[in-house]
Symmetry: none
Subunit: 420 residues, 2 copies
């Protein structure tokens, strides 16, 4: 099966937004064993859209289209769709009901423009958009299926996961594909590749491909394979991961299973705490609330997360978290002493089982010869024990914040597991 991804919208062509929808769709299709043969972005322009449709018709079994479904005048995908398939636009009562309730629920009037969102090309299959007002559409021309979705990522993704991908799976006999991704922290891409070189060289004998997927504070290793025997594919990959574990176990913090989202370190830690019925509190200085937002972004956070303090000044560290004033006059706020006191005191304040504290120089300024930009101290504490660790990351503020968060979360994970 071959697919094509088409993005419609001037905002892509003028470079105003990065095309993350196409990347996500490509990943999902690839996981299912559908090969993407072409990706294109065209303007909100009828002629350009029709030319792209015509080209896709000759190349692909499926065309995934995002964008141009908004209610405003610049969005012409639906009109063009209707024309291309020779199908007049008719009001879909179910969609109209959904659109109306969407506005009514928010205490807003349902206008003519809103109502027009329920117009669908005749003969098309509506794809319900539970997070928005622009429905998706599924149409067939010759042997090619055209699927039109809104460009808003969280609307598109839910439609794909809940409706479109299951429908494609059930209607087609796709080859078996199997992936598993090993999540590592604490070692860079090139050091990792040297460490696992001979293991990696041997993968080819089992028809397994390896991809290194680095991001700040973590390297993901994706093992993928395809073939006829589903059980064998899984067995081969599981065996290789066991061998890999023997080499780099200390760096592995989790796994991404086939067809699932990459679990974040925060979600892995949350899950551990939930299983143990334990709780957490944070004191964040240089990460400034970012780690807290990772935990609270997860549904059900209040079961395990008691809260955080971001003491961004020395005064706040002292007054709100009782760090000794002598710490600031001797070793400074970016120090073992400071993070240890922060971790111990935030834990007591929130009466949590565990606490994590972070203090560092995020940059771009504020570094010294002794403590360059990127210097970060991290501490973890329980009632019985406090541990502190020092890191020197890089020069870029945003990367230092991400690295600090990922390293801190992995330290916390190991601390909860009593492996440090």
């Amino acid at each position: 099966m071959k697919a094509e991804i088409l993005t419609i919208g001037d905002e892509i062509l003028i470079g105003q937004i990065t095309n993350t929808n196409s990347v996500w769709i490509a990943q999902e299709l690839n996981l299912m064993g559908i090969r993407i043969v072409h990706m294109a972005s065209v303007a909100d322009d009828e002629e350009a859209i029709v030319k792209a449709f015509d080209d896709a018709l000759t190349r692909a079994d499926f065309v995934f289209i995002t964008g141009g479904l908004g209610p405003t005048k610049d969005d012409i995908t639906k009109k063009t769709f209707s024309k291309y398939f020779g199908a007049e636009l008719i009001m879909d009562e179910d969609v109209l009901k959904h659109v109306s309730s969407f506005f009514i629920k928010r205490g807003k009037e349902v206008t003519e423009i809103n109502r027009n969102q329920a117009l669908i090309p005749k003969g098309g299959t509506v794809i319900h958009n539970k997070n928005g007002t622009a429905p998706g559409m599924w149409m067939k021309k010759n042997k090619t299926i055209f699927i039109s979705m809104p460009g808003v990522p969280y609307e598109m993704k839910i439609m794909m996961r809940d409706i479109i991908l299951p429908k494609i799976k059930s209607e087609n006999n796709l080859p078996h594909i199997y992936h598993k991704t090993v999540l590592t922290n604490g070692i860079g891409e090139s050091a990792l590749s040297e460490l696992i070189e001979s293991w990696e060289d041997n993968l080819v004998t089992k028809n397994i491909k390896l991809a290194y997927l680095p991001q700040p504070g973590m390297v993901r290793l994706r093992l993928s394979t395809s073939g006829e025997n589903k059980d064998l594919l899984k067995k081969n990959i599981d065996e290789e991961i066991e061998k890999l574990k023997a080499i780099i176990d200390t760096y592995i913090f989790g796994y991404e299973n086939y067809g699932e989202e990459t679990p974040s370190l925060a979600s892995i830690v949350s899950q551990l705490l939930r299983e143990n019925k334990q709780t957490l509190a944070l004191a964040e200085s240089c990460t400034g609330g970012y780690v807290s937002s990772l935990f609270t972004g997860i549904a059900g956070a209040s079961d395990i997360f008691k809260g955080a303090i971001v003491p961004y000044t020395n005064k706040a560290k002292h007054e709100l978290l009782q760090v000794d004033e002598s710490v600031f006059t001797t070793v400074g706020a970016v120090s073992k002493e400071c993070v240890e006191q922060l971790a111990q005191n935030i834990r007591e304040k929130f009466d949590s089982d565990f606490a994590l504290s972070i203090s560092g120089i995020a940059g771009p300024t504020g570094g010294t010869a002794e403590k360059p930009v990127g210097t970060v101290w991290i501490a973890v504490a329980s009632k019985e024990k406090t541990l502190a660790f020092k890191f020197i990351f890089g020069d870029i503020r945003q990367v230092n914040i991400l690295m600090s968060a990922n390293f801190a979360l992995n330290i916390l994970r190991k601390f909860i597991l009593k492996s440090i």
Copy 2:
């Protein structure tokens, strides 16, 4: 002048990397007044590349091609280039010298594969790649210029900035282009479009295009135009923005100027505080540290940001921020009373000029008939005044957090400006 951007490489099509090269090239060309009419990504496959070249020939004056120039077997762009233009590959002595010195400098042997990087289609203009070994190429077919560059971003960008863009500028009489984007909060895309309908209809008379760019908690309105007289373009857009301001002033929180990045609400508020030498503290419940992380993500945050507390439990709201216990037993934590007390008390605790507090039901569970998921209370406080506002957003946790943050930041902005 019209351009097309073509990316060659399997890694884009399987979703392994996000296509940031195309975004960057689009931005640069757009700034010069060159319109991008098409973007595409194809595999390392001769047939697909030739089809893309043929299509581009009919549409574009310039085709910017990245990728597929590496020395390994999977990279076939150069071979395809040579075939497409009927030009044999010949060794370029200057490039060979550069490639050789590149490896010698790094203490490496110059292999046959490396030497082949200096092969160039006859008649093509070499574009020097000072950061790598794969040279760029500039070829013409009919009236279309094809420019092939390596996919490595920092190699490609330097070639564009130093050589390609100046060459295009000097050889062509380009039209002027002008954009300005109006940033709004507090009104949805469709309500906004109705409010400004007659203004929008009139834009065509001044050759101005309008685009709606919605994201959670904000709609950006981009006005763009092109023509001969640079000053007139700017004047036309500025005049229309003045007229727009008369209609929707209350929703406008900022502008994105031509060639600059979109300023975030947090950066706009930070700038206001910096100018006024004022400071801020936050009490975040449902946003859980997210707003704090937006402020602390900006370099120099400590000038204006004193800190935050994330009191994720009622106990923490009471013990750390002195919210009356009676609040929880009567109106609950998601209430006017709670956010007012949070804002007042966090301001006192950090001794800041302003404070912002947020308490809501982020979801997906925890809603009631009276307070559905998405109900959020936001308060702002100064020494003299406290104001609270209630919103009902939607069902999705992550979107509710984003919406809460953007609405809260805009309320704070207006509060600092004394416009509420």
